[in-house]
Symmetry: C2
Subunit: 325 residues, 2 copies
DNA sequence: TCACTTTAAGTAAACGTTTACAATGCCTGT
DNA sequence: ACAGGCATTGTAAACGTTTACTTAAAGTGA
């Protein structure tokens, strides 16, 4: 037995497929109660399940938004996804997630194409740094897209994120307020998010007439953090701002291994504020982002609803920052 | 301008849509090189992008496998996804991920239905415990499904996972070999995975003529771990097997807070072996699962290729287990 | 040159829905 | 009893592809 269609239901109940479609689609007021119950009964008997592919084709439209993610944001992705899923649900949209690997260009490109070919309502790109080609592809398609947790420095491209410059500025100021003057910034890359944070850090240092250290670049990973501790020590800093919780965790592991005490010898300020911060010893003080909000606002934005460009950040004090006197 | 179709290409190049379709679909040997280049050129000019929805409809088939995940496996999900994506790619299948929230029944059900309606090649359910209704739904559909990281105790239902009984047995034996006799098991639930691990633990204890402690149940989360430390202490155990890295991390945090030294006062053996184990202090000794393999094998299995039922586990020694003398 | 094969291309049906439009029958008020 | 309206249903086109079948043209060997 092959999968039943509305044609089967129509045949079995002696009505036309149009009527079946209307009943199943809940078009009000165009069929009698009697037909309705009969059709519903037969549909259930047959184990009918609608073919969304056919529906999408005729409607030229999907009621689905595609979310493209990569491996990097492991730690915070569930919060973003929760926010997206929840808000999408409220707006009657389904969500499919496309995985773009670990900053893998081919996969990333493939994911975008897949989304485009499926006539989705909108495309969300979480923590994805697109290359020119991808961006052109997106722009030329008729379908709206929005970057999540990434800001281009222009409102011409839809995006929802924390204000990375402000975030880094606050992180830096927080450390300065606690007496630190030699502060490192570690683990960021040279793309949008990274350079915005770098700017915030440098501005804050300058505003306090303090010399900014050379930024220690990395890829937001645990391994990067581990590798960068030595450089931080070499810079003679008493505090370091980590580009992510993972970087912070890596710095901390390396610190333990090399006998650098945290926070006595070195204070660590992390960026993200996920559960990772609670797991380490000492727990990591962090600039905490509201990933759930970022997710739900981005859904609003990609669907053309009013939405914030930036969502607020706050510092969560834990145990990795010392006050210097 | 609306999205171009093969009809537009056909019109512009003066051939029929059949020919266009053949060229674009790379059907060899049924068109001349000249037409081919002409069509390709025009397609590019027009910015043509195939409509997968229409293709799927006519082919009644998707070349896509659906992966349903929930929030719980945050920690290991990327490895599983990597394995799945990689293997699926090799076999010419795309992957779409459907998110089922935090063990949210409605969402989970919805995700299954979505997959069913989209005529995917196969459905993968990662760390999902289905209820009867979901299982019936899946069985009655014509499409193959495979559970990932969950074993039903029967080969009637496709599944790929670690051998949870064996895993727990080994974990227990490992601790016993190091002189522990009072061992707790914390954080598991009563479903398949949980009860298999419980059995392994109890068997190992019995085989060593040791009394098994009452199993401390939980939901594999950090919070559960935190909450359960006191119970572990109350059981007077010198060692505890944690149901997951997150549970282990929770136990450890609570231990720090309550002055219980790890591993001096209490040894912790974690299950999973993700990066979390490296982040904590002390680093967590773990039963390490090969999630990448679990992922790739499950793709094989759901596509009808030869595949393992179980993938091997191993212990990774770190610093959270003490030897008792 | 003729019958025959090969190559290149076209025609039209099919996939499973939705929906504009048409048709039917019944009811209403006069 | 009849025009008009409404409720209910049917007919058929459309969505953008793929593909079986057909046709036309060109090449082949004797």
């Amino acid at each position: 037995m092959t999968k039943p269609t509305i044609k089967d239901i129509a045949a079995k109940s002696g009505v036309s497929i149009a009527t079946v479609s209307r009943v199943l689609g809940n078009k009000t007021g165009s069929y009698s109660e009697k037909t309705r119950t009969k059709i519903l009964k037969i549909a259930k008997e047959l184990g009918y399940r609608k073919n969304s592919v056919a529906v999408d084709l005729v409607k030229k439209h999907s009621d689905v938004i595609a979310l493209i993610i990569n491996a990097t944001p492991t730690n915070f992705s569930t919060q973003i996804i929760d926010g997206i899923q929840q808000r999408a649900d409220e707006l009657g949209q389904g969500v499919i997630i496309l995985y773009a690997g670990n900053r893998d260009h081919a996969l990333q490109h493939q994911a975008i194409i897949t989304a485009l070919e499926r006539s989705v309502t909108g495309i969300l790109l979480a923590a994805i740094e697109p290359d020119e080609e991808d961006l052109t592809l997106l722009k030329e398609s008729r379908i709206p897209f929005c970057f999540v947790s990434l800001y281009f420095g222009t409102t011409a491209i839809l995006a929802v994120s924390s204000d990375n410059r402000e975030l880094a500025y606050q992180a830096t100021q927080y450390l300065i307020d606690r007496g630190h003057t030699r502060i490192s910034l570690a683990g960021i890359d040279g793309y949008h998010t990274g350079s915005q944070r770098q700017a915030g850090y440098q501005d804050a240092m300058a505003a306090n007439r303090l010399p900014a250290a050379t930024v220690l670049s990395g890829n937001y990973s645990y391994e990067a953090g581990k590798k960068l501790l030595q450089a931080v020590v070499d810079q003679g800093s008493t505090a370091v701002i980590a580009a992510s919780d993972m970087v912070a965790a890596g710095l901390l592991t390396a610190a333990h291994q090399q006998g650098v005490r945290v926070p006595a010898d070195l204070s660590i300020m992390s960026i993200d504020g996920t559960i990772i911060c609670q797991i380490t010893t000492p727990a990591l003080t962090s600039m905490t982002q509201d990933f759930y909000q970022i997710g739900s606002q981005s859904v609003n934005k990609v669907l053309g609803q009013p939405a914030a460009d930036f969502v607020s950040v706050s510092v969560t004090e834990r145990d990795s920052v010392a006050r210097l006197d």
